[in-house]
Symmetry: C2
Subunit: 135 residues, 2 copies
Amino acid sequence: MLPNLLGFNVRRAHMALWRDFNRTVGIGQIRPGIFSLMVLVDENPGIAQIELATQLKIDKATIVGLIRQLLRQGWIERRQSGADRRRQDVFLTDLGSRELVGLRREMIEHEAKFLRLFSRQELADFFDYLRRIQI
Amino acid sequence: MLPNLLGFNVRRAHMALWRDFNRTVGIGQIRPGIFSLMVLVDENPGIAQIELATQLKIDKATIVGLIRQLLRQGWIERRQSGADRRRQDVFLTDLGSRELVGLRREMIEHEAKFLRLFSRQELADFFDYLRRIQI
DNA sequence: TATTGTTATACTCTATAACTATA
DNA sequence: TATAGTTATAGAGTATAACAATA
């Protein structure tokens, strides 16, 4: 039964990617969740935590823990929003920005190992299929 | 960057499936990991723990925790192997077998929500792609 | 009343290292 | 020496519930 379950196959694909990520990207310093949060902050300077939660599709309480790690590493900083004082605007620090350059490079190296298993058209279809089930 | 990363998309697809599984299958009693272990035991009565670890691609130490839960629930039982006394042969109990009937039905219901998003050919391709990255 | 962020808590899933019993 | 299973420990990653501050 298992080999014919979509959930089982997605789960194993996820585990394989996860393991290679951890061997390749920011070894001992970073995980997929933290990486994607950093990229989001880099691409949206001053983004609010609630917005990070929405875009990453995880609970706002979960964001707090990730933010705390990145603050401890000195890779991000927060400033209270002027417009809405409930909000904490999140930015990368200079250190965080420099770090992310290397992480992105490692990320591309990691992705390449998997991307090369597909033709251009297969990849386009694969992404399409994966997006369909991101309900 | 994120929407164009294979890892990011697989991760989100995994989360979507995980959440729906937990709303649909064995509510409050079971998780994807436990379910797949039960199915494996059902299809391979007397399977050894080391074999479960190999087939599920997780460490043998991790199996112990899952086995312990299922023992507590009375859904599996173990007998020492006659041939190799290091081994513990794992079986479903009658209770476990009856339980699994309902769980399989819920699993199919859960899968159907996602499978119906694809044509037969798309699904065949999708499974092929997912298997390629299960390194 | 609703939203943003926080704290406390708990659970799943995974791994590594060191161990016992057995092969 | 190698393998099967266990224990202890750790660390991601997620969630829910209740709360303070602010809108």
